[in-house]
């Protein structure tokens, strides 16, 4: 097996807040291969967004402490000089955030913003860059790309703006694309368009994708592997089929049970996970999910953090490195029930 594109090891992020030190990410490790889509799933406060902002050095150094390692093509992003990191960010990693308006400068035309990005990372003439920009806009499905270059962000709809942001993120052919709730603000019909678009581009360029979302439906459609985050930890990871069809962690099961299902129509109450996620300033000792867990029974639950262990009853032989189904829970039997 070739080396993965991105290798994150024991990532920890602490933030200083008015309420004390927030342990936002607590020992996260995963890999993303070329052309692979890894979905990071979690509720608000689970640390899913912070964990990727930390990778790119986008957290304010004044309040954030980041430790661990994150190797992109073998080069550690966390120990890199700021200059090198800036070089890497454009051509190496593209980012798409939830609100396209915040990533676009409202007073510059779409064309200017694209051309700037292209020229910042390569020796290209203005005309050439503009040509490539138009090509990118066409690639992301913007009608009439030449005219769109001269438009301002507010003249486009939300879906079109998100396409532009994706075009900018892809402008330097990054090997890794990070999408943070990139379709959450969009309507489902537009979301479907964007998901198709990313899948197409990914197939074409072999881009590795980290897709951060809370929408398990989206995950089911696009992800190869899933990483479920809770309280700043990975509580379960594995292939999309393993995690969504045969969840092993009580939290994952709770999340799936809480979703109203469009396909079936039962009139009963939805299963709920009682309570709310813990504050990162005030994580419980032991298993982070313990206070809300419906199947807690093991005495270790309250005192000892369960390690991320291979799910013993995996339905098939454990394959190569990335395909293991793991969960961090003491309740192995309970989780089967």
């Amino acid at each position: 097996m070739s080396a993965p594109l991105l290798e994150v090891e024991d990532l920890r992020v602490r933030l200083r807040t008015p309420r004390g030190t927030a342990h936002v990410v607590n020992g996260l490790g995963y890999t993303v291969g070329r052309g692979e889509t890894v979905a990071v799933v979690g509720e608000s406060g689970s640390g899913k967004s912070v964990s990727v902002l930390a990778l790119l050095g986008l957290l304010p150094a004044r309040v954030a402490t980041v430790t661990g390692a994150a190797r992109l093509d073998g080069e550690d992003l966390l120990t890199m000089s700021p200059e090198r990191l800036r070089e890497v960010r454009g051509p190496g990693v593209g980012m798409v955030f939830q609100d396209p308006m915040t990533s676009l400068n409202p007073v510059l035309t779409i064309g200017r913003q694209l051309v700037e990005g292209i020229r910042a990372h390569g020796e290209v003439s203005k005309a050439e860059a503009r040509e490539r920009a138009a090509g990118l806009l066409a690639e992301v499905g913007l009608p009439d790309p030449q005219r769109a270059l001269d438009r301002y962000p507010h003249e486009l709809s939300g879906g079109m703006r998100q396409r532009v942001v994706i075009a900018i993120a892809l402008s330097n052919n990054p090997s890794l694309l990070i999408a943070d709730e990139a379709t959450t603000a969009l309507d489902v019909t537009v979301q479907a368009q964007i998901l198709d678009l990313v899948a197409e581009l990914q197939a074409e360029h072999g881009t590795g994708v980290i897709w951060i979302t809370h929408d398990l439906g989206v995950v089911a459609g696009i992800a190869d592997r899933v990483l479920v985050m809770y309280g700043g930890r990975c509580v379960e990871d594995g292939t999309v089929d393993d995690v969504l069809e045969r969840p092993a962690h009580p939290y994952t099961r709770g999340l799936l049970g809480a979703l109203p299902d469009l396909a079936t129509s039962d009139d009963g109450d939805l299963a709920t996970v009682p309570g709310v996620p813990p504050a990162p300033t005030d994580l419980p000792p032991g298993c982070v999910f313990w206070p809300r867990c419906p199947v807690r029974s093991d005495p270790r639950c309250a005192t000892e953090q369960p390690p991320l262990a291979i799910v013993p009853t995996s339905h098939r032989d454990i394959g190569g490195g990335g395909l293991v189904h793991r969960a961090a829970t003491w309740c192995e039997e309970g989780s089967r029930g």
């Binding site: 509720e43 608000s44 009608p143 709809s157 939300g158 879906g159 079109m160 309507d187 489902v188 019909t189 537009v190 979301q191 479907a192 368009q193 998901l195 198709d196 809370h214 929408d215 398990l216 439906g217 989206v218 995950v219 089911a220 459609g221 992800a223 999309v240 089929d241 969504l244 069809e245 709770g254 999340l255 799936l256 049970g257 809480a258 979703l259 109203p260 299902d261 469009l262 396909a263 129509s265 109450d269 939805l270 299963a271 709920t272 996970v273 009682p274 709310v276 996620p277």
Partner: protein, 346 residues
């Protein structure tokens, strides 16, 4: 069928917002047709789900039914009374009988007022339970009803989580003992696990208090789960309405079909095999609504009559299911060519 005990009813309801040019004179240069000729009946005791994409006018419709925005045309009847022309007093009486739960629980509670002050506002406004003790008891009762400890009444909103704030918002809406509750994207800003808690709460309250619910949401799965009937809106118009099971399983309007097919479900095997109908382009601006059928610019089945005849809702599919689509027979008002406003293709 629409006559059996309808609580709220809209007929040809229109809410047009004028677009004004800047400057001192402010000439009206056009109109955003947020709600544009809606016919809708909400039956007593049912939950009607109202779905549609952003900008389709579903929130405006909800506000117009409660007369929180003043309709520019058509009528709204609440329990037999036309509410479009109510005076201030009668309007206040309506406010007691119809409540609203808002989307963002962080924005819908006044940060400077305690939970008690917020929940007691409807009681004060309508002069209910005026004794100090009685009012306190009622507030405790309301908080318990929505699953909050009455002991938290004197705390401020920022001390609560999103789900708890939404419960406070629901308690406020219920304080006046309304018959009708509009939930405007009431779960959209909550975490998945908390959404389920609030959905369950709403369903339980509805059954217990015999409420009539209008559940406005862009989340089709949630709407499908809570609703007895579903209405689908597109560009200011209800384009399909019917029993939840029928609309969910066998939609008759191409837009509903596309909308349903675009909802991702959390089953990888289903997701991989599912046929998605991906629509072309974006929703046209409500300031430039296409002539005839407003969905025709994105419809995969558009044919000759679509630009020329504005389709009316007609019975199709299951009993009680209505859809506005020429595929089921050309029914509707012909468009006069002079009025036509074809938007430039985006």
């Amino acid at each position: 069928m629409a006559d059996d005990d309808v609580l709220v009813s809209a007929r040809g309801l229109e809410v047009h917002f004028p677009i004004r040019s800047g400057g001192m004179l402010r000439r009206t240069t056009g109109a955003v047709r947020a709600v544009d000729g809606v016919d809708l009946d909400i039956r007593r005791g049912e939950t009607l789900g109202l779905v549609g994409e952003s900008g389709c006018g579903k929130s405006t419709l909800g506000n117009a039914l409660l007369r929180l925005v003043v309709p520019t045309g058509g009528s709204v009847t609440f329990d037999g009374t036309d509410v479009t022309g109510l005076d201030r007093r009668a309007l206040r009486a309506l406010r007691r009988r119809a409540g609203m739960v808002f989307q963002d629980p962080f924005a819908s509670l006044d940060p400077r007022r305690t939970v008690r002050q917020t929940v007691s506002e409807p009681l004060e406004v309508h002069g209910l339970r005026s004794g100090r003790r009685e009012r306190g008891e009622r507030i405790a009762e309301l908080l318990e009803l929505v699953g909050l400890d009455p002991a938290v009444a004197d705390r401020y909103p920022h001390e609560f989580s999103g789900g708890q704030r939404q419960r406070v918002g629901i308690a406020r809406a219920l304080a006046g003992e309304p018959d009708f509750l509009v939930c405007d994207e009431a779960i959209a800003s909550l975490d998945v696990s908390v959404q389920a808690q609030v959905l369950n709460l709403l369903r339980r309250l509805q059954r217990r208090l015999g409420l009539t619910l209008l559940f406005i949401s862009h989340d089709l799965s949630a709407v499908r789960h809570v609703s007895d009937r579903i209405a689908v809106m597109y560009l200011g118009r209800v384009v399909e309405v019917g029993p939840a099971a029928a609309v969910g399983a066998d939609p008759q309007m191409p837009y509903t079909q596309a909308l349903l097919s675009a909802v991702p479900v959390p089953h990888p095997s289903l997701e991989r095999t599912r046929q998605r109908i991906v629509l072309r382009g974006d929703v046209p601006s409500p300031a430039a609504v296409p002539s005839g059928c407003r969905f025709r610019t994105r419809c995969p089945y558009a044919f000759e009559p679509c630009p020329d005849v504005d389709p009316a809702l007609q019975p199709v599919g299951a009993p009680g299911q209505l859809a506005a689509c020429h595929l089921h027979g050309v029914v509707g008002r012909p468009v006069r060519r002079a009025e036509e406003a074809v938007p430039a293709a985006e």
